[in-house]
Symmetry: C2
Subunit: 309 residues, 2 copies
């Protein structure tokens, strides 16, 4: 079974299209995890310990996690090590892992990023440094010769990508709505992505070439879903960024498939709202609440996947 | 003196607007530097040794170097360590350092990348992990709330950024020429960048907010130079990508200032063309040849900076 079919099978088995974002912030770690003497190494290790406990608490509830690279890179080599250890831990728990690095560069450099983030073998005999993750997010501003090396590497390694199509931030429209032949730029990027996806779909009808589509633009999400029938969506903006279950429904197809809904801070920092030290338990409860919210929204829109009731 | 004035002073003192790209590729390292037993750590160390010798060979000829992050990230934590060591070495030799990471994300995440790459103090008492470099390259696709955190951090830390405006790759036009009110997207990004730069120029007339403008589009470079009088250019595409000294002249202002011309593989792999083991000497010779080419082009276009003859 290819990657996208295995991911789809996990979503169905767990009845959960939830993508938990492991975006830890040192300042907001539970006091018990904070090192006495701060250093890059100690901070990075604390991030890993936080992730480890979170992963164990939620692994049976979600198919996948997303790691925001910026949170790790901040701590240099030790941060990247914490990133890698978290990926390995997530994979050991049977989770799919999205490396949210938003990389992008011109052709030959894009190929290096693709090798680094999608697990090729840069030294011939070695596996890639970040070889365990399944997907990487990528930025389309440089056009097809910045994207093609990632598509190529993904297919070669049975990995996947999510292209930034429509981001969830307020100023997304500033440049993403520039026009190309009567279409918004993000729509053109969507069409080009669909053309790639159409040629590489798995049995589930989706390709390992996905789109990041912000939950903060529901009307556009419906249009983009129709434009990209073979492209799975990664949907940020649920929870902390303001989206609710009902808002993300347009990202799913008629059968309630084709999207992973990301929540990061709303889950991993749920212990702050709960005012508890049990951060892992709070994350589990927040994940369960999110799942219920999504299932309610599926029912309300007639999109509940077959077998989920 | 602020960063951009110090950089300008170094360009003038060395009579050289050359930015050498330290973009090492393991497969192309001189045989003497290749480790017997390849591992991520050994490969990363070899990259550092290569950079170290190159830096010592060219430090008196150029004001700045650029490190392509993809080349290092490929080797995981050890790669990032090689990156950091190379930055520290370059700074010790009095060079300015551009971290070519092309980062970009939404607001709060952009702030984390800005902290990591522009040397803020993420733990309060510690300096940032990649604290030594002077500039970072950034991707504008997410709009102003993805860019503002970098501008803010740059000003706070006396660092700088280069925004990808017009890249040097063949498919740059695919999305960068989408239209906004009769302008190409890259022109709109240029105008928005100039608006920021105008408010923060140093004594030299330029701001620490620069633009990446590919040498492969000379006609557009002239237009962009006129649109962004306070924005210094980082110009890739010289040498290996096909541009020559005469092609990059439109990137300079009338006084022959306001641009750094990047050459990477044409310099660091000059030993391959020369068929010599003396890679450092070959890099030095290639840098001298590039300087002569630029000076000839300055003379030919009447742009030779005052005092350079």
């Amino acid at each position: 079974m290819v990657l996208i079919d295995r991911l789809q099978a996990q979503i169905s088995a767990k009845k959960s299209p939830i993508l938990v974002g492991l975006d830890p912030l040192f300042d907001r770690l539970p006091p018990a995890l904070k090192p006495e003497k701060p250093s890059r190494e100690a901070a990075a290790l604390a991030l890993y310990r936080f992730n480890e406990a979170l992963l164990e608490a939620i692994a049976d509830l979600v198919p996948a996690v997303k790691l925001q690279m910026a949170c790790y890179e901040l701590y240099g080599p030790a941060g990247l090590e914490a990133f890698e250890r978290s990926v390995v831990k997530a994979k050991a728990l049977g989770l799919f892992v999205i490396d949210d690095s938003k990389r992008g560069d011109i052709g030959s450099t894009a190929a290096l990023y693709a090798a680094g983030h999608l697990g090729a073998a840069p030294l011939g005999r070695l596996s890639g440094p970040l070889a365990a993750q399944d997907f990487v997010t990528i930025n389309p501003y440089l056009g097809s010769d910045g994207l093609d090396p990632f598509y190529k590497e993904a297919l070669a390694q049975d990995k996947g990508v999510y292209v930034l199509v429509r981001t969830s931030n307020p100023s997304a429209r500033q440049y993403q709505e520039a026009q190309i032949e009567g279409r918004a730029l993000f729509e053109q990027i969507a069409l080009d992505l669909q053309a790639q996806a159409q040629a590489h779909q798995g049995s589930c009808g989706y390709a390992p070439f996905g789109a990041v589509v912000g939950a903060t633009w529901p009307a556009e999400a419906a249009k983009l879903r129709a434009m990209m029938p073979n492209v799975p969506f990664l949907v940020p903006g649920y929870g902390a960024q303001g989206g609710a279950g009902i808002d993300v429904m347009p990202c799913f197809d008629g059968a309630g498939q084709g999207a992973l809904i990301n929540s990061s801070r709303g889950i991993i920092f749920a212990f702050e709202t709960e005012k508890t030290h049990d951060f892992a338990g709070a994350a589990r409860r927040a994940t369960l609440a999110m799942r219920q919210d999504l299932i309610d929204a599926f029912k309300q829109t007639g999109k509940l996947p077959v077998g989920w009731d």
